[in-house]
């Protein structure tokens, strides 16, 4: 455990000196928080004067999500907000990729892995240290952004029904459970990709393909093919657990002393 903490501290000391990474970690969550707030503000403002949107204007599937006793405007807002849920889920995917790519490729180009592997650290400790160093900021920033978003909701005058929905099970599962699971998968993917390429930006771009499934969900929802509700979220979490198991397995197989020194080019 002591070794893992040493590695985490070392990773953070190094990675937070990199402006590119720092920008990614701080700026992206901020954007993803402010954007939905602004959207919500304008949808509630613009429609305040008008008569309520009829429920007929809201995609049919959404009415099920909104449930009874909710106005058409509120349901419309929930529909809009649900798109942003996926943005919040991008945070724990993108941040670990950035940190892990710069860290691993950096170690490869400066040849600093060999002296590190010559110490009595176990490869498990090293992998765990690197993974946590990349995943923790992502999880924390994801939660932080969501907290900021929740604080902002009453300020911009969001109705109680919408806030209720956002603090409901679907969102909490997404932010508290799915987010960390995705961070774990994304770290391992980034480590795998970084072991093969020598440019952190290339590693980042390849690993970032991982956001495609999320974008897929986003467009599927926009197109009305699916609606993200508790069931969808639970099955997503279930498959993420499987993906994590596979990715951690992949991570540990490539993360062996001999492999790192002789096969990572």
């Amino acid at each position: 455990m002591k070794h893992i903490i040493t590695i985490i501290k070392k990773e953070w000391a190094e990675v937070f000196k990199n402006r590119m990474v720092l920008f990614m970690i701080s700026f992206m969550p901020l954007i993803f928080t402010i954007l939905p707030l602004v959207m919500l503000y304008f949808t509630s403002q613009g429609m305040g004067d008008m008569s309520d949107i009829s429920t007929a204007d809201v995609p049919v599937q959404f009415l099920e999500v909104c449930g009874e006793g909710i106005t058409g405007t509120e349901c419309m807002q929930i529909y809009v907000v649900n798109q942003f849920l996926l943005m919040f889920m991008l945070i724990p995917v993108i941040i670990p990729v950035t940190i892990a790519s710069y860290s691993i490729v950096g170690e490869k180009t400066t040849h600093s892995l060999e002296p590190l592997l010559a110490t009595p650290i176990t490869t498990f400790e090293l992998l765990a240290g690197k993974s946590l160093a990349a995943a923790l900021p992502a999880i924390i920033m994801g939660w932080f952004a969501f907290g900021l978003f929740l604080l902002g909701l009453p300020i911009i005058g969001t109705s109680a029904a919408v806030i209720d929905y956002i603090t409901g099970l679907t969102w909490l599962l997404a932010i508290l459970v799915a987010g960390p699971l995705m961070a774990i998968a994304s770290v391992n993917l980034a480590i795998f990709v970084s072991s093969r390429v020598n440019d952190p930006r290339v590693a980042e771009q390849i690993s970032a393909l991982f956001i495609l499934p999320i974008l897929g969900l986003l467009f599927a929802q926009l197109a009305g093919v699916i609606v993200i509700n508790v069931m969808v979220m639970l099955s997503f979490i279930g498959s993420m657990i499987l993906v994590d198991i596979g990715m951690i397995y992949l991570g540990t197989t490539i993360f062996q002393r001999e492999n790192i020194l002789t096969r990572w080019k």
Binding site: H111, S112, E114, P115, A118, T119, P120, R257, L261, T262
Partner: protein, 322 residues
């Protein structure tokens, strides 16, 4: 622990590493290496680039596994007690591999923790001072010269006070002044009684620093003290500088027991022999009796470079022949 009882710090038997690469021929990097290094010894592992020196060090520090053969390091068996080996040896890797954005002391601090050093700050301070990096301790390593990085890497290898040190080409790529500093520091380590296994392709360095030298190119070609290597390959030669040389003087010398070869170069006699202590006085007496004026007598010393080139040539010939 029974470290006191261990005589050999490194013992290998038929140690072999063959790299297999997809769609390419196997690379026999190290073949059948049998070797032992005693406690307190400075062992020079001498060979050209690509000889397999780094691969050997990696096997002996439990970084990569051998294809076959065995090795014991510090009393621990490679492949069985890898953690113990890593804990008990120090290694200067081929490239320093420092964290460039972090300060010198931060770099050492990380390693002191990874080596479970008890007094982290004390050890870091000690070695920063000892290697003359104290005033630059807070500067990022990215701003360091090559020589400073190398010194920092040596400090890093010593934090946990290992009795056995592996140095992979410690002076390669350094300017002469930095190389001199590093060499004198290795001398200090040797005086402290540490066992050192040093890879080098610098013959002079091996000659000056090492108790024994192994000449290596995938296989171990020769192992001995620098002195014996010279003898073994060339015998010993003594040069007699004379004012003049008369062919008639030479016959009595040729007849002396133990003279292996005699050549005349300008006004010098170059005589190959096994035992100059006995023969030199006899030769001098014979020459004086013949009326020769002896100006100066000296032993012809071969540089290690000659030996090295000679061995490499012999091996190449054997390879062609065999």
């Amino acid at each position: 622990m029974c470290l006191d009882l261990i005589q050999e710090m490194i013992e290998t038997k038929d140690l072999t590493k063959i790299f297999t690469i997809k769609k390419a021929a196997d690379i026999p990097a190290v073949v059948g290496l049998t070797l032992s290094v005693a406690e307190g010894e400075v062992f020079g592992f001498l060979g050209p680039n690509g000889a397999g020196k780094t691969t050997t060090v990696r096997m002996l520090t439990s970084l990569i596994g051998p294809t076959s053969g065995t090795a014991r390091v510090n009393g621990f068996t490679v492949g069985e007690a890898d953690q113990d080996i890593r804990r008990s040896v120090g290694i200067l890797t081929e490239s320093p591999g420092m964290y460039e954005r972090l300060s010198a002391s931060k770099n050492l601090d990380i390693y002191a923790h990874l080596y479970d050093v008890a007094d982290v700050d004390g050890q870091v301070d000690k070695y920063l001072r000892m290697l003359g990096l104290w005033s630059r301790r807070d500067d990022p390593v990215g701003s360091f010269s090559k020589g400073m990085r190398q010194k920092l890497a040596i400090a890093r290898a010593l934090l946990h006070e290992p009795q056995l040190l592996f140095l992979d080409e410690p002076t390669s790529g350094l300017d002469p002044e930095a190389a001199r500093l590093v060499r004198s520091f290795i001398q200090e380590l040797r005086d402290q009684g540490r066992t050192i296994f040093m890879c080098t392709h610098n013959l002079n360095e091996a000659d000056r620093l090492c108790d024994r030298i192994g000449i290596f190119k995938s296989r171990l070609i020769e192992v001995d003290t620098p002195e014996n290597l010279r003898k073994k390959l060339f015998g010993r030669k003594v040069v007699f500088h004379l004012r003049e040389v008369h062919p008639g003087w030479l016959d009595p010398i040729r007849e002396l027991e133990g003279v292996l070869d005699l050549q005349i170069v300008d006004k010098k006699l170059v005589i190959a022999m096994d035992n100059p202590d006995i023969l030199n006085p006899q030769i001098i007496r014979a020459l004086v009796q013949s009326g020769a004026d002896i100006l100066f007598v000296g032993e012809l010393r071969h540089s290690l470079e000659d030996i090295y080139l000679q061995t490499m040539r012999d091996t190449a010939e054997e390879e062609v022949a065999g």
